[in-house]
Symmetry: D3
Subunit: 322 residues, 6 copies
């Protein structure tokens, strides 16, 4: 297997022969000299558009088009070019360019998706925190999640979002740990909070993300991730596991569900109910702090400029780099 | 059983001897001449505060206080008085005033809670509409709700809200029918909409309200109604019934759940997701139209004034009565 | 007359020889090899930029530039080219390209502006609905509008907006019918509403749009459409016609004007007053429902993608296509 | 005619025998010892509630109730009393209290409504400013308003609002003068503005208020003031007078109407269109400045406290009095 | 010195003879039987209105009125009464009631203002945290604050707000400690943050509150607290102390000032600039978390009800007490 | 020195040999035929991108790159080209293109930065207005600013913003004069305002801008301009100068500071406190009027179109040009 060319390092004029994951594909259309189509590929360094320029036979271009799908990994031979201030890959049939779907053993997934390195340590910490809960029902509930190997594996693979830094395998694990640790510090300050409820709520607040993202050769949002949303998906996960625990008190279940449902803090941010008791408010505030800070730190780290300032369009703010 | 005195007809100075439902109770406290406590009662005409003025024995006042609870029905003997521009009932121990908890057969519930009269007709229409759905899975789902006698009874008893006009037994039935009828008219205008999906979504959009309100001798919000919210409660109802239907297509289930979850239209109005396809948007718009219009019509009907205008403080608007 | 080439079907590299309506024109400017100017054309399929590349004589380029105006129809001979991800038409003087203004009989207007096909049926329905109003003053008022051939013709030609689906001849007629039908359904549900006032308000709510759009070889907003707005223009139409009806009750006129003025529902959406009685609220809600739903259905229909989702930037939402 | 007792000077325990204007009246109702009704009166110092406590004969109380209406002036004999932290007038039939409707010559209107003293001077200034406009059409338009004695009288009587300082006869005149003067200063700074258009727009921006308020024995909002709003009423005034001037240019009329329609500056503040050229923006800004500043100055002047601060609930702000 | 009667324990009908702090005073006015005035008193349990009912001599009532001022402590002899649902103290001259200003040794301040008990421990922790900063300039700056006995005393006396729980002597110390501890936890999670800058920013973020509150016999906002605001006052404190440290780097000073100025997080919450680097964002988030959580915990603790829910009007939310 | 070529007049295909100010520079990167870098230049007519296309030696391209910095003035020899609808300057090494840093006497600054012409007259007016203040402390304060030659020079050089019209040397002087004149007119209308406080507040409201902008060969925002903001910078200027005046009353200082701090009118617009007395409100309203109107007038003047309308994206509004 040849060494991987990363999309964010391709220069206009450079020959390309490497593999990439397919994000989406557009239909075949005609152009001056025949038929062409466009698709978008990714690896762990970023995304890039590919244009396949075929000849006069619509049939053969269509056949190539149909030979691979979204989430497949393909080997692309072509040339990097600049087009409207973006670098893209041009694959010209008449110059011998090709696109070939690869079998699962034909590539190295770790080149396609980013991943945190310390996943086993993070898993161990999560399990340890789950075991620190004494309330028997909450303890059983946490076991039903984190002692379930299948769940733990999926949870550990999940990113925390599909953009930015935490958009990496292990991102959800990392974010969850941060939120639990902040909540434990909050509990130090306010010992009147119910530690077991707080820790359980923090550990489980984002479990719905596991089913909201699909990890294949790239990371994407699932259909239910859009139509139902990770908060409601998580609430069902919770209710299903609680149903399997005999004698789980109804009032406790309602409070735990409320923590999960209200963790975005405000209706306009997507929570159908807003925090109504301190443990719910603490989980929301810790989640908010970790997400916003991680976002700004990432933007600062990834900035490529000689200037002391970058503009963050999503939050309409300047970030100071000095 | 004596004739019922309605709270909204009591005049200051009038003797009171009638039964009422208990909404809430405050603890016993002392006053100049002994011990007293305050509670709030209701019947179908409105609500009123009652003050029990006891003597020097804290014990006996406490005993009376403990003899009834929220949602009990009590017979109150006392006198209506004006206090700070409100009429209230004063029960004076030394003048022979009493408060006695009544057994279930000691009163007529229809005097305590308002109810629409045409519930059987509305039930029949709902069932008929449910039967008009042809898609086999949706049809089975609707049967699992509306052919379930227990569910149909609860659904028909439920109000649509705890304030205003629709705060009456049968209110949910009535609101649901209105929303379905509006959706059918929308479907006439836009035949490209999926009739079965639309009707099913409209019929089920508010099923979560059944568990959000408790109907006893009065109407109140349940704990889960506050902590979880009727939208999420309804989504679980839906998922549970779908689980009982073999071969229910996953994509269809997601679309139906999306209609229910998005029916408040915007996140800030409590929907965790916002309408993403036309059938969901139609259910939201029909729900909104019916709720807002019913609200204004009710305010206009209940206005008691010689003036041509009333001020609606909740919506910060004038309503014209002429 | 040769067959029409539609702008949304032109491919880069394709020869162009067809007629188009002129939307606007920019001044003559110089370039490397002489003088050029740019203008924008439209037909019923969409819009496209045309660039005329002339020679060293400013005078002759200016003369061509001055030979046609906005709203004229011109025959363009040139070639379609891709420029910054957009297809545009390049007309090169030295390659024999030309732009010639056509006389009114030189083209087929139905190729330039979209139109609904069932206008006569829709007109008939509108007239029928107008005739269903019994109140003598409202009936006369509706006659003064819809029995006025000139008005009915203009009303039937008017679009409901200048973007999207309803941006077609007959669009206003269609939208008005939809709003009336929804209001009639609302009246079925709430028989306490005044049917005549409601139907009249619904029929006339958008009459100001007739003078807000100009229909020539294309559709544009008039100066008063921007400076005064269709709501206020419509209110003057109404007041003028009411003035011609003897004995029209002042109170009724005020209520009808209020329906028209408040039909956008909120001040921030452009209504100077907000609905103050149920008939006004019903017209607003029906208008809102029809506009929003039509908008989403159109977006879904016009989507060109293999994906299951499109992004609607104007409403910042995903639309699900499956 | 006895000296007037002002409502804001009545003390609990003081005998009352004076005349007041009637704002509104509530229906007759019963109380412990018979029948009573309540109404609200005003004079130029403020407003106060009156309660008439009659005897056992409903008929005679109803007769008294029906003997006067809103906007009548009545002579009230009774006693000031404190009731729920408010002073009110109690009229007790059995203690000889009475309420008698007065004929127009029975009272002094200047005791009932506040008025600015320098109205003639302000009228002269307005006329002078109107005459400073040179454009022949605008000049004729201004004459059609301010040389119309009837209009000038109504305009000069009108308040600028129904609350606060400018709620006085002459208030509209005063506010209009202030806005014109500010606009003239703006024109000094920006000579590129069209002076005639600017001055005309400023002079006429609030003409719709004349028909929005009714001045009788007190000041109230008219029905059209609520349903149509002073901005739209003013636009009709303008259009009607323009129609009477031969050859008034259409474009000029549209710009002037735009100034009037957009003078609230934003849709959410009630303007159906927002300022689109500098003269319109200037009139809006000057109107805003004068209204807000006058409001704060009035609040500061009317504050009655030993403290250095008052709370202005309408604008949720502290005002510093030192 | 007799035992203190607390205002929140006074019952209607109870004799009062105790001392209180004066919050504000209204002017003398007349009533049915002579002259009276009203003032408001407080102790650490709450606030209450006092009414002094004097006789026919305005002079003697005025003399008493002038004998004490805001922030004085007075001994009040009278009787608790219920007036409009509030308990207040009535002091009747003719029944021997009196109000006498007390000298500083005439009362126990600890009965008038609430205070945290562990102030010395909290001071020690603050000093320890200040000493943990290694950067020489930041370390000197912290010494200039916390080694200044006078400042440390004022800082330790200051509340964090004038309402709720933290409205107690030591409240600012406590809130500051909480914010520093949360920031240290954030630093554990994100070691890339500059620890010294973060800790210094957290320690100093609210130093402006020292001059925003006045602590006498009660707690009040200073004039500059309102006109300038604690954020700007704090920025001047910072700049002044930095000016006294030789060679303090300009860039470091700007970053530290930015942390302080931006700690409310958004302009609409009173920060003139918004966080532009991660340390500033972290201080804001920690401040926000501590303030909101403390607020909800306090509301829950102070709730007096048999119900499971209370309504928090300031944040328009239900709080669950179970 | 050759005549200056202005960036907004360069045509694609035109040879360029002129000097420009450097705004920012990007790092050296490779391309198909060697190494290149990009930078941005400005003169008083606008801004433009320059691309330097070097050869195979990274070293020599890097050396050229390092030979000039932001704010230097450089002589550029190359050719104007169109790239993605923008004109830019292409400097090709192999075609003899060069970029050379110029010494201060190598160019004419007045070609690089725009400046108002009547600065001396405006200075004279400002000084005259400052001298019209009678209050001795305010008069001394104004002298300390405007009799300080150094300050007056900087103040007169400062722009009022870095975009649009007032982005010119003298812009701050002009805006300040306008605000003072508007305030004087407001004082004519409301003589109860304190003239000296009002004029002083208006003269000083924007003094913080002097340190917020850097004027070199172009205009840029300083680091403190972003991190601290001109309002807070101005408040420190004020406090420092007040400290130098013996006996300046504390209350007067607080009011003046409040005017400066609150002059943006609302927290969300960047003022940490909002106007609490009329003089502060007047300065805010005058500032707002001048800024908004100047903005719209400038947009209208700079519009280049044959159309009657332009779209102002920053304020989401149409501007009418006729």
């Amino acid at each position: 297997m040849a060494s991987k060319q990363m999309v964010n390092e391709l220069k206009p004029g450079e020959k390309v022969d490497s593999y990439f994951s397919v994000n989406y594909k557009k239909p075949v259309t005609d152009y001056k000299y025949g038929f062409m189509f466009e698709f978008r590929v990714a690896d762990k360094s970023g995304q890039m558009t590919v244009k396949y320029w075929g000849g006069q036979s619509r049939e053969s271009v269509q056949k190539l088009h149909d030979s691979f799908e979204r989430e497949d990994v393909v080997r692309v031979k072509g040339e990097a070019q600049e087009y409207r201030d973006q670098t893209e890959i041009s694959v010209s049939e008449k110059n011998g360019g090709t696109v070939v779907r690869l079998p699962p053993d034909g590539y190295d997934t770790s080149q396609l998706i980013r991943a945190y390195e310390n996943i086993p340590e993070m898993q161990a910490k999560i399990v340890e925190l789950a075991e620190s809960v004494h309330d028997p029902h909450l303890a059983k509930l946490l076991q039903s999640f984190f002692k379930d190997e299948e769940f733990l594996r999926s949870f550990s693979e999940s990113p925390a979002s599909i953009t930015l830094h935490s958009a990496a395998v292990g991102g959800l694990l990392r974010h969850t740990l941060n939120v639990v640790e902040l909540c434990l510090k909050v509990r130090d300050i306010h010992p009147e909070l119910d530690r077991d409820l707080l820790v359980t709520g923090a550990l489980l607040h984002d479990v719905g993300k596991v089913q909201s993202f699909r990890i294949s050769s790239n990371i994407s949002q699932t259909e239910d991730g859009n139509l139902i949303g990770h908060i409601i998906i998580g609430d069902h996960e919770l209710v299903d596991r609680i149903a399997g625990i005999e004698g789980f008190p109804g009032g406790l279940a309602s409070k735990l569900r409320h923590i999960l449902l209200s963790h975005h803090g405000k209706k306009e941010w997507g929570s159908p109910v807003e925090p109504m008791f301190p443990e719910a408010l603490a989980v929301h505030e810790a989640d908010d702090l970790d997400a916003k800070l991680d976002n700004m730190i990432t933007k600062r780290e990834e900035a490529v400029t000689e200037d002391d300032w970058i503009w963050d369009p999503r939050h309409s703010r300047l970030i100071f780099l000095k």
